[in-house]
């Protein structure tokens, strides 16, 4: 009874908060100062056609490095806790249905290609490393559901993850040495706005992030699939 009253009180508090926000809400018709700065200066400072990417990778690049670190730590902890204990027993899983297996053969390469497309074009179109990486992990999930007992090249995944993480930090340090600051993208030449090879080091960094996120999430899914076999 007391617990329910408590929950109702909290929900009512949220309602009051949202109501006071809604009462004074009016749609902005102009950009605020910070947004105006980004919109005016991204094209000639960063050279990326996608302003969001310019903010995420360069203006706020340090935050992105933190996000990647958080994902890396959580994936490592999952790998540590879910390490298979060796006493594997065969699950005798039902073979996946013919429709799933056939569709997976067709869709798996296409989904991987789409993920790569998203992160390579991150500086031109919406999307980027995190989005592309999670799309790749979704494709891997489809593969895992079609072949639950299949062999996963775990060494390859770990190698990709390590090299991409190292490459990301190395690109940031190159910015510090050759450019103006850590994760500065201008040391590689900005190119023409809107072309694939433009925006300095942003496509390289986003490719590293995409590969790293894809490999990490695939590794997490592989570990979760592996412990299903245990006693």
């Amino acid at each position: 009874m007391f617990k329910k009253l408590f929950i109702i009180a909290i929900v009512a508090g949220f309602a009051v908060l949202l109501w006071s926000y809604l009462r004074h809400y009016s749609e902005r018709t102009t950009l605020n100062d910070l947004s105006t700065y980004y919109v005016d200066n991204t094209a000639h400072e960063i050279g990326a056609a996608n302003v969001v990417t310019a903010i995420v990778v360069t203006y706020r690049g340090f935050d992105t490095l933190g996000e990647v670190t958080i994902l890396f730590v959580s994936a490592s902890l999952i790998a540590m806790f879910l390490k298979s204990m060796g006493k594997e027993k065969s699950r005798n899983a039902r073979p996946a249905s013919l429709i799933l297996v056939t569709a997976q053969k067709l869709l798996f390469p296409l989904i991987l290609l789409f993920g790569v497309y998203i992160f390579i074009n991150g500086h031109l179109t919406p999307g980027g490393g995190f989005q592309g990486g999670s799309v790749i992990a979704t494709g891997f999930l489809l593969w895992l559901m079609a072949n639950p007992e299949g062999h996963v090249p775990q060494n390859l995944l770990n190698t990709i993850e390590s090299i991409s993480g190292f490459g990301y930090v190395a690109a940031g340090l190159f910015g510090l040495i050759l450019g103006l600051g850590f994760l500065d993208n201008r040391f590689m030449g900005l190119g023409t706005l809107g072309h694939l090879f433009s925006a300095g080091v942003i496509p390289v960094i986003y490719s590293f992030i995409g590969l790293k996120v894809g490999a990490e999430l695939s590794n997490v899914l592989h570990h979760l699939n592996e412990i299903q076999n245990e006693e």
């Binding site: 998203i118 919406p126 999307g127 999670s134 992990a137 999930l141 559901m145 979760l224 299903q228």
Partner: protein
């Protein structure tokens, strides 16, 4: 009223209804599936609100990976607990 805002409002009402259904529903499998559908509809709302990056992440992680991870863990709990 703009037509896309109307569409977003209808979607928002469906999302709230489904989110309440997640709490009420008895079978845990149904609850997981319905929460996946909530994420999928939320990604459409993000697209209508002009943030395609967030919509992509929500569709891939919220409705794809999280749902399956829930099922993996539920399967594991059932086989080891009982």
């Amino acid at each position: 009223m703009n037509i896309s805002i109307l569409f977003a409002l209808i979607l928002a009402i469906i999302i709230v209804t489904m989110a309440i259904a997640v709490l009420v529903v008895k079978k845990i499998k149904t609850a997981v599936l319905v929460s996946g559908v909530v994420s999928l509809l939320a990604s459409i709302v993000y697209l209508l609100l002009a943030s395609p990056d967030v919509a992509m992440t929500e569709a891939a992680i919220g409705s794809g990976l999280t749902t399956i991870i829930f099922f993996y863990v539920l399967n594991k709990m059932r086989s080891s607990d009982v």
